[in-house]
Amino acid sequence: MNTLRILTRLFTIVIVAALSISPFLMESRVVHLIFLCFIYIILAQSMNIASIAGAVNLGVHGMFGLGAYIFALALPYNIPFPISLLLSGFGSVVFLLPFLLLLKLRGAYLAIATLTLPLLISSVILLMPEQTGGARGLFVPSVPEPHLTSYYVALVAVLILQLALDRLFRSKYKYALDAIFDDVEVASSLGIPVFKYRCLFFSISVFFASFAGGILTLTLRYIDVATVFNTDDLGIATAAMIFGGVRTVWGPLIGAVLFTVVVEQLRASFMYIHTAILGLLMILLVLFMRGGLLNTISVLRSKIKHMKVKT
Amino acid sequence: MGKILEVSNVSTAYGNVQVLWSISFSVNEGSAAAIIGSNGAGKTTTLRAIIGLLPILSGRIVYLGRDLTNLSIKHRVELGITLVPEGRALFPYMTVLENLKMGAYTKRGREKADETIKRVFELFPILKERKGQLAQTLSGGEQQMLAIARGLMSSPKLLLIDEMSQGLAPKLVHRLFEALTEITHSGVTILLVEQNVHYALRYADEAYVLENGRIVMEGKSDELASNPRIKEAYLGL
């Protein structure tokens, strides 16, 4: 192993350790911000996971909301909260199973279809006021130490995601996934089960997006449709993913941290401008920094290498 | 009559695959010329390079004394070069008449559009009969006639025709070549690419044989027709 790898590993361990003890060392405002970063990392990565297999998931905010509601509805039945959390993840996958058919569609159509899912889910919730509280919202039963628990659950989730993605990108499956992303027809003619991969990755994406919704709900006393089905969340996750670099391991994480911090600051000062800035950033990013930060960096690095070789 | 087209040392490629290797040939104004050769020899590529659908790597294409390099397709059509592409590329949901109108899109075409339509209907009376029908409802032969007619609507001086006889019955092919002869007599130069060597050599004045992106033989078509290599390779004799 070269020095860079060792250093990176050490660095990561230090950061994780620091994050693990920060609830006891830092003021709650900062801890809360870190917690939000975790949530958005999970959201951004769940979009990333779907994109890896060539599926676009523009409905993450809908799955987030669905997870939130499943969690809030499961708690009163005295289901211990870890199970409820897992339920919010798996439950969403189960509910959204029929929509896996949509994965047969071409890119842009899939994008639009996933975009409509949050509307469907939130509408259904609103139309069943007896079961879900409808427009009036839902009260969430309390859980011991909600903030600490949610913090650590989120931290663990982020770690799992990053580790899993890192392993995946180094594995032989990466080639198949790249093939699917590049050219679907060529990939299937090579015998790669495109649809199966897409279903699998999309389901994982749904799981984590909903799981994040469940985690957040742990910390809340009350939820309603307007708060948990928010296009802002989609905007942040998309911008984070694109900025950091689609289909990279660390890109969405970096992007999520950056955007969470920026948006929280903006949210405090101006009412709605943060959404406008997010939108503007999305446009500019795609126009000028297409691959995202990490990809642009690696492109620059290879260009520098080429220059060195020439001289 | 001078040279309407001069292709000099033209090479071109699709991505990393070179298709044409420094080919050179010329076409006399008012004549009928053919490029023949087997599949994949580069015949279609040559026409696409002339009309501008494909950029060339090196060499020059000169039309009536003008270097065509860097000229857009639109410009070339305005100057009087028109391509009737392989597979006809008609507008399927437009009527025969609308397809013809589109053919006359350029200024050059629009000026003479009414005249040209009359001529085209004389040449292909069946098109006049079917003028209100959607292009996709026509038979293969009729579609080819429409494609050629549409090409004529731009009032070209040089008409490039790609694989006209593909998939058509011999009677129809015969009929189409008769039409081509009439068109040449009216003063339009025709350069065609043809797999059907028999008809190509009968119709054209001179021909070029393309193999693997190089011109391996050229000359007057009656000489080529009696050439033993040609007879063996292409005429199956």
Partner: protein, 295 residues
């Protein structure tokens, strides 16, 4: 009202609104046909057109019907700018990117538009009530508001104009040709940068026109953009991509459906219903009723 009347009335109302939906969806159809991209900002454009017309009425006393024409004229160049900045930069990329990047840029644009609308006009719903349009007109045994009738008539005229443009002008012909076969269109001597550009301008223009016509009929708030997006997409998918007739038929059908849902059930169910229909069409018959391009 007898039961027959109470059945017919929603149909008529639905048809009238549907006519306008068809017009707005026609714009989406044209853009998709030429650009082959999905414009997520379509709903936002409609929302902005509505607010613009509202402004013209409240600030300058401009009759909403006249305002609709003014708005459409303003939105024509906006459509061209939209195409130039958010869509054409991606023309040379590989197909995967070419399809997805415009989705992101237009999504960004819709976020910007929605937040700007919230900032300038707040989330409070606005209504435009124009007296002469409110009066009821008796048609057979029904009372229909004059507003609906006039707006419907104007929408039909708009449709006819677009149809005539596409069928009988050279520019319209070139756009149709481009939709059917871009390469062949280039061979006809058309500058192939022009048809998608003009189609975008016209597409956005008729979308804005259709939306502006709705000004006297509905209540306006920023969230309307998302609902319009869904609605127009359902209309286009139902009617079929690339089909002018499809947009009309789809629009009418959806208009009637909306009317029935509101009348017999509740307004809130309509978006959910539309999503279900949308997804079903995509799953079962992606080309829609009259369409020529597959999803």
């Amino acid at each position: 009202m007898s039961s027959v009347e109470s059945f017919i009335s929603p149909i008529i109302v639905g048809l009238m609104t549907g006519g306008i939906y068809g017009l707005a969806s026609l714009g989406l159809n044209m853009m998709f046909g030429t650009l082959r991209i999905i414009n997520i900002a379509h709903g936002a454009i409609m929302m902005l057109a509505l607010y613009f017309n509202y402004w013209l009425y409240t600030l300058y006393d401009v009759d909403p019907l006249i305002g609709a024409f003014i708005v459409s004229l303003i939105f024509f160049p906006l459509g061209i700018v939209l195409y130039q900045t958010l869509i054409s930069p991606f023309r040379k990329l590989r197909p995967v990117d070419q399809e997805l990047f415009p989705v992101v840029t237009t999504l960004g644009l819709s976020l910007v538009a929605e937040s700007l609308a919230l900032t300038f006009w707040t989330a409070d719903p606005r209504m435009v009530s124009v007296p002469y349009l409110q009066t009821g007109v008796k048609v057979a045994f029904l009372y229909i508001s004059a507003g609906r009738l006039i707006v419907f008539a104007v929408a039909i005229t708009g449709y006819l104009l677009i149809y005539l443009f596409l069928k009988y002008t050279y520019t319209g012909l070139a756009i149709r040709a481009f939709i059917q076969n871009p390469t062949a269109t280039a061979l006809m001597g058309v500058d192939v940068k022009k048809p998608p550009l003009i189609a975008s301008g016209i597409g956005v223009m008729i979308t804005a026109f259709g939306a502006a016509l709705l000004t006297p009929l509905i209540s306006i708030d920023p969230r309307v953009g998302g609902q319009f997006l869904l609605l127009t997409f359902v209309v286009v998918t139902l009617g079929g991509l690339g089909s002018v007739l499809g947009a009309a038929v789809g629009g009418l059908l959806i208009g009637v459906l909306e009317s029935f849902t509101v009348h017999y059930y509740q307004a809130m169910a309509f978006p959910a219903l539309m999503v279900v229909i949308f997804l079903m069409i995509l799953a079962i018959r992606p080309t829609g009723l009259f369409g020529r391009f597959k999803a």
